[in-house]
């Protein structure tokens, strides 16, 4: 038997609505995300990238097929168990609105551990905070942080629990290119150095070039896969999809 992959999808389908207004957003997606890999999920707007991530990460329920996190089939879990999987085995970074405004940066970072009733490993917290250069911002509230800093706090929160996989949905979508580069560099480093599995949804070829692999989605299906994607290669495939 092969090693259990941190995240996998088998023939995943998702249809929004029913009857005449039904929108098939995913039409059978199968993919594996190996341990310590950094995958970019690419595709034009409306191709089903976010839907794919939501179903795979247990944020939403698929219509058909299976999503696995650490070998666990999410489709058989009830809401309580699914919540626990998200809390303990998955890290999230969203495009915006990642942080609770009432909590300080460090409280936001520790929130998933807090919810689980666990305490953070101080060494790990220090390492994550240090490498994200958040040391002097820990007691600030989100309103007092820049967009880049807010996203870095979100990444710290995603990493500090030591999850099976980190999902990021357009994490750089609302950032300037400088902050975006810093952030993507950090994601790549945590993959290389810590062996963290990362799945990142993006429509930006440059962002995708930080990943080891790019999956290309179109109209709810995986239509292509690139290893060690370069911006030009990605752009080329994207153009061909648009044509």
């Amino acid at each position: 038997m092969t090693e259990i992959s941190p995240a996998a999808a088998r023939d995943l389908t998702k249809t929004y609505g029913t009857g005449d207004t039904a929108v098939p957003a995913l039409r059978g997606v199968t993919a594996d995300f190996g341990r310590g890999t950094f995958t970019a999920v690419m595709g034009p707007s409306g191709s089903g990238k976010s839907t794919f991530m939501h179903c795979l990460a247990g944020l939403d329920r698929a219509t058909g097929g299976h999503a696995y996190i650490g070998g666990q089939d999410l489709s058989v879990l009830d809401d309580r168990e699914l919540t626990r999987v998200r809390r303990d085995r998955i890290g999230f970074v969203f495009q915006s609105f990642n942080l609770l405004p009432t909590l300080t940066a460090v409280q936001n970072i520790l929130l998933p551990l807090d919810l689980a009733g666990r305490t953070a490993d101080p060494a790990k917290l220090a390492a994550v905070v240090g490498s994200l250069r958040l040391g002097d911002r820990l007691d600030h509230r989100p309103a007092e942080l820049s967009g880049g800093q807010q996203q870095r706090v979100a990444i710290a929160r995603a990493l500090v629990t030591g999850p099976d996989v980190v999902f990021a949905d357009e994490p750089t979508g609302a950032l300037d290119s400088q902050s975006a580069a810093t952030l993507l560099d950090f994601l790549r480093r945590s993959c290389r150095e810590l062996g963290q599995t990362i799945v990142m949804v993006t429509h930006d070829p440059i962002a995708a070039s930080y990943a080891d692999r790019a999956l290309l989605l179109s109209d709810g299906r995986i239509v292509d896969e690139l290893s060690d994607p370069t911006p030009d290669a990605v752009l080329g495939v994207m153009r061909s999809l648009a044509a």
């Binding site: 939501h54 944020l59 939403d60 329920r61 809401d79 309580r80 919540t83 626990r84 998200r86 809390r87 303990d88 999230f92 969203f94 915006s96 609105f97 990642n98 609770l100 405004p101 009432t102 909590l103 929130l111 998933p112 807090d114 919810l115 689980a116 009733g117 989100p142 309103a143 929160r157």
Partner: protein
């Protein structure tokens, strides 16, 4: 070319579209206005009905009459002669005498009013529900409510007496007596006119009238003029003028009642408007980006303001209309239950509805000011500028603290010996309460944090809840203020009433030390009397007291009085802690002391059948009316053969008084010449009056509490709505549904608990001040503080419980959504 549609009122249209699209956001405001307006409408309508019922009872008596002659005190024979003389005046069809008297129901301390019913059938205005009208002097018809109170029925006999005489009558019928809130206060009965002219009856008429009916040939005014000519000095009025005068005399009570209801209505409106302001502030905060966008595309400040005003007017009008419907329906129910008139005072109801709309519009002025400050740039900002939720300004803080200090100073003055103590206390309390309300922003957030810190340890959900509760201090303070006002008023009333009761009890025990006395004017009671009275159920104990008649000599001329010498067994049935009567003192009725010109503590000489003593005299209510009390051995000196002429008895606490009285009556009736007295009735009257007042006011205040709770629910619901994305994020990060619901419940509990705690603290304080002020006004001594802990805890539990309940709906809505639905960009 296509025609370009042009909208005349873009902002109004926008405002109304807002209401159509998001009705649930303003439902609570509509409900608050509906409750306030409904309450006020019901109040004015019920009062109008009551007044109509009351007027009818006043008018009914002279409805068939054309002219009323009110005759002064004088010889009944002369009155009869006058009536005969009037009946011969041209244009007069009949002239009948009508009497009104009052008598004590012998063997009890109840009073009953007798109204004579003329033999002329046209003048028998009351409706007989059973039996027949009195035809002979020995017959009486009782009001139905009165009969029930006295525990009497047709065929029973009743003895009534006044100072000079007594009469025993047979009940021949029962008359309808409306169960109105205002009438039926005086127990009523009807007798034949001949009742006043026979021997062995009550002769003193308190109000004698001659009811004149014309033959229809002349107007009332002309008839009145003709009657005046023969009436001499007596007052002659047309029946219209007569009823008008009577109504004017009697509507005082209605007015006070009206005032009371309106004051509570105003409280409900105040709580409602705090809530409305709060809701609109939240709505403005939530629409910040939308308003910014409107400004960016060219909407002027006036237009933004006008939009909000239109919205408020629409909300106010909807709430008012619903409220009027609710109130009228309620009043109709009340009229049906009380079997009274239903009258719709259209003008007043319209005014109340207008007030509802006005409150809504006025309440939106402050939020509108905040709305027009929103800059076009706000459309682009994801997070609100902190200035939108500004903290209480320094000036306002100083103002509130100043008000509190001023109020406390005035309350302090109320404790000093001044003739206007009540004014100081009440005025000071108002000022102080206003200060406290406006200072909620200062003390409620710390209170919330304090209460929350106790909960923080229980888990992450409670920690998040605490943070949420204080994230908008202004909003939390306003919500808390509404609840604090409502809870504070209820608790102030409860504490005030409990204190008043305790204080009054102490004073009543001093004023009325003996519950029941049965005594002979002179001589001995039959030997079985003590046993008979002790056997009455509801009597806890009875003891015989020896008594005699003596002469007391103080400053003026000697005066014959009764003297009692209660032994230890008699002192045991005295209420309160009365010390035994010392052999070195004479206790006298304080009024007697006054009458015979004696000084408290001065010497008095008492001379009895077998001896005489000279001792210092002391005023004490233990002495019977116009009588004395001495130690048994002193009585033995005064009259060595003094018989047991009096029985003292103590009522069992909580005994059924109606039953007790009627049994006592039957026990005492066979004892010829025995008279029943004692403080039981007076005490119970005070208690009943206080209880009724407390029940009534608590009920009326419940309306304000209800509105405050709707406000808590609304604030919570809107905050949950506003935090949909936050809830979704928490759910994505691993917060269970149950925990999310728990978080919102804790937040609600914290908000309502802090309001309740502040309200209870303030209410207890003001209740105590009130007890002090009112006791001072009533010359009560030894003011006692008292509060019922279970009652207060109930109020707190209701407030917190309802707050948690209010979190259920928003909590369910927040927890139902999947994390993705809520994260979706809107």
């Amino acid at each position: 070319m296509t025609a370009v549609p042009r909208t005349r009122f873009p902002m109004a249209r926008n405002a109304l579209a807002e209401l159509r699209l998001n009705p649930h956001r303003v439902i609570a405001v509509v409900v608050a206005i509906m409750i306030s307006v409904g309450y006020l409408t019901a109040s004015v309508t019920v009062l109008a009905g009551e007044s109509a019922t009351f007027e009818q009872s006043v008018i009914a008596r002279t409805a068939a009459t054309d002219v009323v002659v009110t005759v002064g005190a004088g010889d009944p024979a002369e009155h009869a002669a006058l009536a005969t003389r009037i009946s011969t005046v041209a244009g007069v069809a009949s002239a009948d005498l009508s009497f009104l008297s009052q008598g004590r129901v012998t063997g009890s301390s109840d009073w009953v009013q007798q109204q004579s019913v003329p033999a002329n059938p046209k003048l028998r205005w009351a409706d007989l529900t059973e039996g027949r009208w009195p035809a002979t002097p020995g017959e009486i018809v009782l009001g139905s409510v009165t009969a029930r109170q006295l525990n009497l029925d047709i065929g029973d006999r009743i003895t009534i007496n006044d100072r000079n005489s007594s009469a025993t009558l047979t009940v021949t019928g029962l008359a309808h007596e409306g169960n109105s809130l205002l009438s039926g206060l005086a127990p009523r009965s009807f007798v034949a006119p001949s009742f006043y002219s026979v021997a062995g009856s009550i002769h003193t008429s308190l109000q004698t009238e001659i009811l004149v009916i014309g033959d229809g040939t002349v107007t009332q005014d002309q008839l009145a003029a003709r009657v005046t000519a023969v009436a001499g000095g007596d007052r002659v009025e047309t029946s219209a003028g007569f009823t008008q005068r009577k109504l004017a005399e009697k509507t005082q009570g209605v007015f006070i009642f009206q005032l009371l209801l309106l004051v509570f209505g105003a409280v409900a409106l105040l709580v409602g408007s705090i809530m409305i302001v709060n809701t609109f502030l939240i709505l403005v905060a939530q629409r910040r980006r939308q308003i910014g966008l409107l400004r960016a595309v060219g909407a002027g400040r006036d237009q933004i303001r006008r939009g909000l005003l239109v919205e408020a007017t629409a909300i106010g009008a909807t709430g008012s209309l619903l409220g009027v419907g609710l109130g009228v329906a309620l009043a109709a129910c009340v009229a049906a239950v009380l079997d009274g008139e239903f009258a719709l005072p259209a003008g007043q109801v319209a005014a109340v509805a207008a007030v509802g709309v006005m409150i809504a519009v006025l309440s939106v002025l402050v939020p509108a000011r905040r709305a027009v400050r929103i800059a076009p740039l706000d459309a682009l900002r994801a997070v609100a500028d902190p200035a939108t939720e500004r903290r209480t300004s320094l000036a306002r803080r100083a103002g509130s603290l100043g008000l509190i200090a001023l109020g406390l100073a005035a309350i302090g003055l109320g404790f000093t010996d001044t003739t206007v103590a009540l004014l100081y206390s009440v005025g000071g309390s108002f000022v102080c309460a206003a200060g406290l309300l406006s200072a909620t922003g200062l003390f409620l957030p710390p209170l919330l944090r304090g209460l929350g810190s106790a909960l923080r340890r229980t888990g992450p959900a409670a920690r998040l809840a605490t943070d949420n509760a204080v994230r908008n201090p202004g909003r939390a303070a306003a919500t808390g203020a509404a609840l604090m006002l409502a809870v504070g008023l209820v608790v102030a009333l409860q504490v005030g009433a409990a204190g008043m009761k305790a204080t009054a009890d102490g004073n009543l025990d001093v004023r009325y030390p003996v519950d029941v006395t049965v005594s002979m004017f002179d001589g001995a009671l039959p030997a079985r009397a003590t046993g008979d009275i002790a056997a009455v159920s509801g009597i806890a104990g009875a003891a015989g007291v020896r008594s005699s008649r003596v002469t007391v000599r103080g400053g003026g001329k000697p005066r014959p009085v009764r003297v009692l010498g209660p032994g230890a067994d008699a002192m045991a049935v005295v209420s309160g802690l009365h010390p035994p009567v010392s052999a070195g003192v004479v206790l006298a009725d304080p009024y007697l002391l006054d009458e015979i010109g004696l000084r408290d503590g001065g010497p008095v000489t008492v001379t009895g059948r077998s001896g005489s003593v000279t001792l210092p005299v002391r005023a004490d209510h233990l002495a019977p009316d116009e009588g004395l009390v001495v130690a048994p051995q002193v009585l033995a000196t005064l009259d060595d053969g003094a018989p047991v002429g009096t029985v003292w008895a103590k009522a069992r606490p909580g005994a059924d008084v109606t039953a007790l009285r009627s049994q006592l009556r039957s026990a005492v009736e066979p004892l010829t010449g025995a008279e029943v007295g004692g403080g039981l009735s007076a005490k119970l009257m005070y208690h009943a009056a206080l209880d009724r007042l407390l029940a009534l006011t608590t009920m009326l205040l419940a309306v304000a509490v209800l509105i405050a709770l709707v406000g808590v629910g609304n604030t919570l619901g809107l905050s949950v709505l506003e935090r949909t994305r936050e809830s979704a994020l928490l759910r994505a990060l691993g917060l269970q549904r149950r925990q999310l619901r728990g978080m919102l419940a804790v937040e609600a509990a914290l908000l309502s608990l802090s309001g309740a705690v502040a309200g209870i603290a303030a209410g207890t304080f003001f209740g105590w001040i009130g007890t002090h002020a009112v006791s001072g006004q009533l010359n009560l001594e030894n003011v006692r503080f008292s509060m019922s802990v279970p009652q207060t805890l109930t109020v707190a539990a209701v407030a917190v419980g309802a707050g948690i309940l209010a979190s259920v709906l928003p909590g369910r809505r927040a927890a139902r959504a999947t994390p993705v639905e809520a994260l979706a960009e809107r």
